[in-house]
């Protein structure tokens, strides 16, 4: 039985450059769902994701991922992470990039071929990544994250700068991966993308404004406009505090 909670964050505090990026945050991510981590840039999304995959120095609190403490060696095969910049070698081809990650994990070329197909890079897999478009480069990074079918995918702004058609394809892919049993945590600063997520975590200034669904967000704030809903939530939290 998979745990109902894929990720549990309790009292997580992260300081970067003398500033509390995350002053003590609590949140849960349900297993088997696409959860959107949504907030403006600088809200702490990337820092939170870095803490979840275990590459962030944390000041306090706990992060539990798939039942284990974040960053434990056993999690490195079960959790896949794509940074905002994509983190691919521009001088290598897409194939060489993905194959390198596969070899580290002891995964064969069959799976390299599979993930390249899944992200739709067949035909351009032998061109140097530096000569691919930004969207294709992101998909090279995503392909690497799909190797070995990880249980949890942590994707930092995977749709930024993509044209609407590609964005729609990617969200369809995320839903397909979820239907195959994976849990996805996807960050974005585009509020409209909240509509594609099963669950929504709204982050602002390192604090969780709301943990809800897109429908819940609309009904809770009484507006269909997600931008407006976000504004109302901020105003409300300001009135409370």
């Amino acid at each position: 039985m998979p745990p109902a909670q894929a990720i549990a964050v309790r009292g997580l505090r992260v300081e970067r450059g003398g500033r509390d990026v995350l002053p003590g945050i609590d949140l849960d991510v349900a297993a088997g769902r696409v959860t959107g981590l949504i907030g403006p840039s600088g809200s702490g999304k990337s820092t939170l994701m870095r803490a979840i995959v275990g590459v962030q120095v944390v000041g306090g609190g706990s992060v539990t991922v798939l039942g284990e403490s974040a960053g434990t060696p056993a999690l490195r095969r079960r959790v896949a992470y794509v940074t905002q910049s994509g983190s691919v070698y521009g001088d290598l081809t897409a194939w060489e990039n993905v194959r390198y990650l596969a070899r580290i994990m002891g995964i064969g070329d069959d799976d390299v071929r599979r993930v390249i197909e899944v992200v739709g890079l067949v035909g351009s897999e032998h061109r140097p990544v530096a000569r691919l478009s930004g969207g294709q480069r992101h998909r090279v990074a995503l392909a690497g994250a799909l190797l070995g079918r990880p249980e949890l995918l942590v994707l930092d702004e995977p749709t930024v700068g993509l044209d609407p058609l590609l964005r729609r394809d990617l969200w369809a892919l995320f839903e397909r991966l979820r239907d195959e049993g994976a849990t996805l945590l996807v960050s974005t600063h585009v509020l409209d993308e909240a509509g594609r997520c099963d669950d929504v975590l709204l982050l602002r200034d390192g604090r969780l404004l709301a943990a809800t669904t897109a429908a819940g967000l609309r009904s809770d704030t009484g507006t269909d406009d997600l931008d407006e809903a976000f504004v109302r939530l901020i105003e409300r939290s300001g009135a409370d505090g």
Binding site: G54, R76, V79, A80, Y89
Partner: protein, 243 residues
């Protein structure tokens, strides 16, 4: 440690080099050019060429490998690829070992090419074994690689990494004993030279050229120790979690 991740990393670095033939050409040809220049410079003074030739045969590769390695590692840190690797099932030692393996092979090829050129074409005359000279030239290149890897963690930009060349290599070049023999240096300078890695790399080369095999072996062993130290430092300064 996993040999798999080490070999994967080494073969990835070779793939990157294959995509950059100009860098390979520079790595291989620059020492040849410099040695050729030296030969022309001392055209009327063959004795001088025979004296400075062997040490420089090792020191040129040392400098080149230092630069290539520190910039490559720095790129890994700044591009985010290192962060991603740190979330994968590989240890920090695997990564450093992969770097060491790939660049040691490159260094070996470079040192062999330079040695064949210096001995075969430029007529460099070695009292001791030519094979030992090639071996120590490889060791020099490996030392440059190890130091570049160890120091790259102190740089945050490629500009800084390149500045480490004059900051780290030039003082060692001045003090290693090539320009002024160590026994003619002021006491403090001699003591300083005694703790710098390049001093021993130079001594090993000079001893072989002079035919003193046992002294060369001691200096080579110390150089090897410095390589291990620098690689260890490079591994320790690599952090899985960063601020």
């Amino acid at each position: 440690m996993s040999a798999r991740a080490t070999f994967a990393t080494a073969s990835r670095l070779f793939a990157q080099l294959r995509h950059d033939p100009r860098t390979i050409a520079l790595i291989m040809l620059v020492p040849l050019l410099l040695l050729g220049l030296l030969k022309l410079l001392f055209a009327d003074n063959e004795l001088q060429f025979q004296e400075v030739g062997p040490p420089l045969l090792g020191i040129f590769p040392l400098v080149v490998m230092f630069l290539v390695t520190s910039v490559t590692m720095l790129r890994e840190r700044t591009s985010g690829t290192l962060e991603r690797l740190m979330t994968l099932p590989m240890s920090r030692g695997d990564l450093v070992a992969g770097y060491a393996l790939a660049f040691a092979v490159l260094a070996a090829v470079q040192a062999i090419v330079a040695s064949v050129w210096a001995i075969g074409v430029l007529g460099l005359d070695v009292q001791g074994s030519s094979f030992a000279l090639v071996g120590v030239a490889i060791l020099n290149a490996v030392l440059g690689m190890a130091c570049g890897l160890g120091l790259s963690s102190l740089a945050t930009t490629e500009f800084q990494a390149v500045q480490f060349m004059p900051a780290f290599i030039l003082p060692q070049f001045l003090l290693c004993g090539l320009l002024v023999p160590r026994d003619q240096m002021a006491g403090a300078l001699d003591a300083l030279a005694g703790i710098l890695p390049m001093t021993y790399a130079y001594e090993a080369l000079a001893d072989i050229a002079a035919g003193d095999g046992s002294a060369a072996a001691v200096a080579a062993a110390v150089t090897l120790g410095f390589c291990a130290l620098a690689l260890g430092l490079g591994t320790l300064t690599l952090r899985r979690r960063t601020p």
